[in-house]
Symmetry: C2
Subunit: 353 residues, 2 copies
DNA sequence: GCCTGGCACTCGCCGGCGAGGACTGCTAGC
DNA sequence: GCTAGCAGTCCTCGCCGGCGAGTGCCAGGC
């Protein structure tokens, strides 16, 4: 990264004002507009000189000669990091978040979806949520329910609720008591474990200890494997239609590129999961990535606000807001942070202990 | 509806050809195009006369003088009902549907989502699916699992899998055996029932018969209520970005109107659930609604293909494809029908018996 | 030395205009 | 009943010039 230490007070103020104005109007900002709408104490000619220098410094760009300036990635970055004043969550927003979670579902997948809808409504942008990996959920209970001598229902419950259920059939007859004993043994020995710490070998050992048949052992293996189901990360997105209101997406090609990314859950996941690796710390603050920082050509004119939220002891999920670079960063950071906090609280409430 | 019995063979052919051509090109069809591309045996002047009459009859409209004709709602309707030849599912499509369901999930909600993705991919339009009401699922099993003297986990399993689970706490102490006995009694007496036929009074009666406390009775009530959860119909949609490729949606206003409808699950549900009431018969064929037949101003330029699918003894869900009126009806009807059939088969496979 | 008013210049936007072209409807003739 | 031909309509597209927003630069002033 290029160092940009200079930026006297006036330049900083001008840059901040240009960004602010552009975020609000979506129009390139000219020197006259600036002097008219904001009290700068100097003439437009001076501003012009300053803006020319800001452009030379890489903070502003001109869409074309004889147009005003718009911020570059570096301009937005400086604004976000050093110039804008942090906002706190507005009263109305806070109330809406609180109300929403008050009636939220108790089921993790549904909560995630509801949260994206809430976040897209509040932010007026596209909202995305990733559920914490099922591997990090705490093991709570397993029950093999005897249905008939040759069938049972196997259920695994984790801290997030029922993670797997399966009706299974086998060849040899099994007594109800045997299943109960196996269930009890599993529950006792696995109690307090996290799903990712439960190896197949552990299950096998417990089964072997009770001398159960390989058929039943396979049932146990199967249902635990299903419960962990680590391949497809749970992810939800909502509010794509909000992007239609943004002038930058009136170009259909850009819009399509974004929608394609949203449709492909894999890409969407990769986009945000970067952050998961970085943000292992739990209550990390919202993080902003701007334009090319997203490392995706189709998103060169977008920004993303991400914020982790916690679930249980080890689980970390991620919320994100995707929108044009010209987004109200202060407000969105406040919204994302507030929502993540409430989401964490809600999940703690519905978590199975 | 106005009766339109006349339509001699030649008019019918011309109408069919205009619709066909317009569906393929998205351009108003002129008389010369028609004579050049299709072997009609008469000159363009004759076609012009015929087309003028078709317009007078309400089958065609002109976007403006000096443009070709495009079909009206009535024109499409006649085409779909009487002129087009039914198509059968193509080999590739059939294979793709088969392959998709081979690896499909066993969980109803996930299956529904996967089906919309499949259907939107195949059709190149927006796909929607409604899950059968949870009321129609068959009751399979309830288990009150003793966790501690004052807590238990209650689980209700229906033919679609685990429908509700809840960890509950209460004041007085309860023995594990009592819960087992209650579970057994509920299972015996409710066996074979459909969820909607299980009244609270039935549950109360069983609880009273065993003399369980009102606290435990309330647990049973709660978990059954949660299992039926009749308010929010499960619905999924996918493929909105396909609509961007259609020239009729390059107008942002129209696009936004559609996306708004998709986002509001309620509206979307109403749009398609009309059909659910009508199509109580199970293996009903796909049904087409065109333009104003949808009774929604925003959808005046859209058509919808709906087809019911079955789940279990009483359950009926619905698949739908939403796109511009200018959609390849024959192909979409075949795809929708084929997908609904496979979906029904798949659900029968994963259904809990 | 920094600021400012003034000025020439650039360039996108927009409305008007006219040529071109795709159709149609009509009419007269076969 | 069909057809060729023709006049007429109306959309599309490219061109052009005026307008206006905004810039960069310069000379003069505090």
């Amino acid at each position: 990264m290029n160092e940009k230490p200079e930026l006297d007070k006036r330049k900083a103020f001008i840059l901040a004002t240009v960004v602010y104005e552009y975020i609000n109007t979506a129009e390139p900002v000219g020197s006259v507009t600036l002097t008219q709408k904001y009290n700068l104490g100097v003439s437009s000619a001076t501003i012009r000189n300053e803006m020319a220098e800001l452009e030379a410094g890489g903070y502003l760009v001109q869409p074309h000669t004889s147009a005003g300036r718009i911020p570059s990635d570096a301009g937005y970055r400086t604004y976000v990091d050093r110039l804008m004043q942090p906002e706190t969550l507005g009263k109305d927003d806070a109330r809406r978040i609180r109300d929403e979670f008050r009636e939220a579902s108790r089921e993790l997948g549904e909560v995630i979806e509801q949260t994206t809808r809430l976040l897209s409504g509040l932010s007026g942008n596209l909202a995305i949520a990733i559920a914490p990996s099922r591997d990090t959920h705490g093991f709570k209970h397993v029950q093999l329910i005897w249905l008939s001598p040759r069938t049972c229902m196997a259920i695994v419950v984790t801290s997030a609720g029922v993670a797997a259920q399966r009706v299974v059939e086998w060849m040899s007859e099994v007594a109800a008591d045997d299943l109960t004993r196996l269930s009890n043994a599993l529950n006792t020995q696995l109690s307090g474990r996290v799903m990712e710490d439960i190896a197949l070998a552990d299950l096998d050992a417990i089964c072997a200890g009770l001398g159960v048949s390989t058929e039943i052992r396979d049932v146990v293996r199967l249902v635990f494997a299903q419960a962990r189901q680590t391949e497809e990360p749970e992810i939800a997105a909502a509010g794509a239609q909000n992007l239609l209101d943004q002038p930058e997406f009136h170009d259909l090609r850009k819009l399509r590129a974004i929608l394609r990314i949203v449709e492909e859950q894999r890409t969407l996941y990769d986009l945000i999961a970067d952050e998961l690796a970085v943000e292992t710390k739990r209550d990390a603050a919202p993080h902003v990535r701007i334009g090319h920082e997203l490392r995706a050509d189709d998103l060169a004119e977008c920004s993303v606000v991400t914020v982790p939220y916690r679930f249980g002891d080890r689980g970390v999920g991620m919320l994100a807001i995707l929108g044009p670079r010209r987004m109200p960063y202060g407000r969105l950071i406040a919204i994302a942070g507030g929502t993540a906090r409430r989401l964490g609280d809600h999940l703690a409430d519905v978590e199975i202990r």
